[in-house]
Structure formats: C-alpha cells, structure tokens
C-alpha cells in the first residue's frame, strides 16, 4: 500500500507543480496545508522534521521518506510511477533542455519575482522588464508547439504553468499586460487551463492578489 503525503501551501507555485504532476499520473495522495510559510515558529513539526535544511514546501513524503525541492520531486514521481506517457521525454537531449529551462526560469523568478510585488519605482520597473524578457524567451522556445513538451503536456509545462496564477497580481502592481507582451504564451496558458489537473490546482488569481496585499501589510511593505 503506497502512502503519499504532500506538504504544501496554497499560494506556492512549487507546490502546485507537484500537485499537477500527481494528478496527471493519477496518484492518490494526502495533502497537508501549512498554516504559514513565512515564519519558522508557525511551521508544522512534520515540515521541520522532513525538510530541516530549507524548512520549505513542497515536501513529498512517500512511504515515510521525504523528498524536497519541486524539480527533484517531479523527477522522482516520473521515475517511480512509470506510465506509457511519461512526464519527461526519454531522449537525453530533450530532458536536458527541459531541465535547462526550468533552471533558467526558477533563477529568474528568484531574482525578480519578489521585486514585482514588494518593490517600487526603478527596482520594480527593472524587475518587470526582466520578467517580460524571460517570458518572451519562453514564448520563443514554445514556438508553434501546443505545449513545451510538444504534442503532450509534459514536465516543462507542469513546471511553468503555476506562476501564471500570479500574473494578475504582477499586472496590477506593475501596470503591464502579459497578453499584450506575450500573446502566444497566454494562448498556451489558456490551453493548459483546460486540463483538469491544472484547473483543479491553480488558485483564483484574485485570491492570490488579496493574499499578496495581506502579506505586504503583515510585513509592512509599501
């Protein structure tokens, strides 16, 4: 009997990646929502025990063994639950490309993500330009394909789609439109949202915006 537990928080795009992957694979799992992800004193015992180094979600606990870091979890899920249609291409080159784009995207969102909602003025503008440039590069990589994985919704699609629930927040706070800047990227977003695994997982963008405003108030960010 497989026991799969996912520790998460509803606004984390990294957690959403794992949820989508589990749903795509039809894997039954128990989801445990953390009360708060900002302060260690509010984090669950289980999280602190399972991820003592980073103390962050997502953590997948498979038969008692914790696996941390979203991309590592996605690769683990694909390796353990093998199906005819895998999340990852079997070709080493396409696997390398998917890993590369996820790494690139994650580094970009780490450097400019917070500035989009927490900063103002030139810092925020610079972050906005960097973020749009990143989306344009991804749009170019997508090309004419329906998905980043080609004909199939695959690992890179799963890794990228969650951040899109923050687009409304970024657009409101930074005053730009992703649709205007990257229309093909938005076509891909709408296509992905037709999949049940995505529509069931991504939260309402308006709720995400309200949450960001609450966080700003809580930490006194103007």
């Amino acid at each position: 009997m497989e026991e799969v537990v996912l520790l998460g928080f509803w606004t984390s795009p990294y957690v959403m990646r794992v949820k989508i992957a589990l749903l795509e694979k039809g894997i039954e799992f128990q989801y445990k929502e953390e009360r708060d992800v900002f302060e260690d004193k509010n984090k669950s015992e289980l999280l602190l025990e399972s991820n003592p180094i980073y103390k962050k979600v997502p953590v997948l606990i498979h038969n008692g063994k914790p696996i941390c870091e979203s991309l590592i979890i996605l690769e683990y899920i694909d390796e353990v639950w093998k199906q005819e249609q895998q999340l990852f291409s079997a070709d080493p080159y396409y696997r390398a490309k998917a890993r590369f784009w996820i790494d690139f995207f994650d580094k970009k969102t780490t450097t400019c993500g917070k500035k989009l909602w927490a900063n103002k003025g030139e810092d925020q503008d610079a972050a906005k330009r960097e973020f749009v440039e990143c989306l344009k590069l991804l749009e170019n990589e997508l090309g004419e394909k329906p998905y980043f994985g080609g004909d199939h919704f695959a690992l890179l699609d799963i890794a990228l789609i969650p951040i899109t629930c923050r687009f409304y927040t970024y657009e409101k706070l930074c005053k730009f439109s992703v649709e205007e800047e990257c229309p093909k990227f938005m076509e891909w977003v709408r296509r992905c949202n037709m999949r049940e695994s995505v529509s069931k997982t991504l939260p309402d963008p308006f709720k995400v915006f309200d949450f960001v405003l609450e966080v700003k108030k809580r930490f006194q960010i103007q």
Binding site: I53, I67, C68, E69, I72, P92, Y93, A96
Partner: protein, 237 residues
C-alpha cells in the same frame, strides 16, 4: 593546462581550467571515457561559439554533442550519464530515492554552501570573512553527516564508484584548498570532518579526476587576478 584529446570533433566542451563547473563536466566525460575537444574560453571575454551555443546564459561550461548544445554543469553531467549509458559505470544512483537525495545535496551545495566560499575567493566585502568561513564550516559538518549516511561505509558518495554527488562537491575541492592556503585556515580536516578528509584524498587521486583538478599554486595566482578584476567576473563582456 587545456588538453586537447583526439576525437572526431563530435564532442566539444567549452570551458576554462579554473572553473569548478567545467571540472564537473570533464570528470563525467572521463568516467564515460568520452573523447572530446576542450575549447578554452578567455577570461572576461565571451567567444562567438559560446554566444551561439548558449545564447540564454552565455556561460561556460557548454557541451556540444554533434549539433546539440547543453548548458549548466549538473544538467550536462546528467546528460552524459544518460547519453552514454552503455559506456562506463553509471553516474547517478540506480534507485529513485537515492537519486533524489543526491540531487538534493547538490542543490544545497550550489545554492547554500558555495556562495560564501565564492565570496571569500572574490574578496567581496558583503560580510566579515570569519562569518563566511563559519558558514562554509557549518556546511561541511552537514556534508560530513550526509556522506556517512549516503556512502554506507564505502569510499564515495556514489558507493564504490564516484557519482553525481562526488562530482558536484568534489569539483570545488581545489578552490576549497586554495582558500585554506590563502586565508591560513583549516576547513576539511581529519579531526573535524574525518570522513570527508578521507573521501577527499581518494577522490583527488581517482583516474577520472586527477588530471582535471587544477594545481593549487596556479589557482592561487589566478585568484589574485580574479580579485583584481571582480567587475569582469560579475559582468563579463
């Protein structure tokens, strides 16, 4: 230092001898006995080939395999493990959970452990050097514990053979030694990190490793040059 191996030109590696990230790719290619042309980049300048083969990050290492360009050191190492799966020993562990653990520690090494070490090498004044050294030491204690759990009594993180985590961590050893010499400190030592001290000796003597780890005196001279040109490190042309 750059050695050009005989090859039919099918495999090329763009890199530079001091870079630990390039060293990772070289060790992996050696494990798989892949012949390759090593194309040395000039410090502070980006060649046309680099800009063409890695237009997004514009960074070394880049592995060019036929018409395919692969960038980012550990992505290259995983590619080598997968593309040459029938040649030489495997680089990643065979069990998914063991792979997840190896990948996790690699993430920790790159994201948390290496940055203070890099800051010391570059002579950045972001915080007092003692604090950076303390972070490096704390990380080594965690890695000592990880080694004891992962190696299961064998010589390497990968067991009997060097593997993904040995390569990822071991690639920094020459720089670690350089910092010990230039700062007059001890970081890996048989009294504080006995298992890592033993592992370090065996790793550095391994056939796939010994010719690609740069000599310490050369790295010390290079690090002086780096400190004098920190701008170029952060914003290469």
């Amino acid at each position: 230092m750059a050695e050009k191996k005989n090859s039919n030109g099918e495999v090329k590696l763009l890199g530079a001898w001091p870079s630990p990230f390039v060293i990772r790719a070289r060790i992996a290619l050696n494990i798989k006995s892949v012949e390759y042309d090593f194309i040395e980049e000039t410090f502070g300048k980006r060649s046309q080939l680099l800009l063409k083969s890695n237009p997004v990050n514009k960074q070394i290492p880049v592995l060019i395999h036929g018409h395919k360009c692969i960038a980012e050191s550990m992505i290259i190492v995983q590619y080598i493990h997968e593309a040459w799966s029938s040649s030489g020993p495997p680089i990643l562990p065979s069990l998914p959970y063991d792979r997840a653990i190896a990948r996790f520690w690699l993430t920790y090494i790159d994201d948390k452990w290496f940055p203070p070490l890099k800051s010391i090498v570059l002579g950045l004044d972001t915080e007092p050097i003692e604090e950076k050294l303390e972070k490096v030491r704390e990380g080594l204690v965690l890695l000592e514990d990880a080694f004891n759990k992962i190696s299961k009594g064998k010589d390497f993180f990968g067991g009997d053979q060097i593997g993904y985590l040995d390569i990822g961590f071991g690639s920094f050893l020459a720089w670690l030694k350089t910092v010990e010499v230039t700062e007059g400190v001890s970081l890996v030592h048989e009294t504080t990190t006995p298992a890592l001290a033993k592992w370090l000796q065996k790793f550095c003597a391994h056939d796939a490793v010994k010719d690609v780890l740069p000599p310490i005196d050369k790295l010390i001279a290079f690090s002086k040059m780096l400190r004098a040109n920190v701008d170029l490190v952060i914003n290469p042309k």
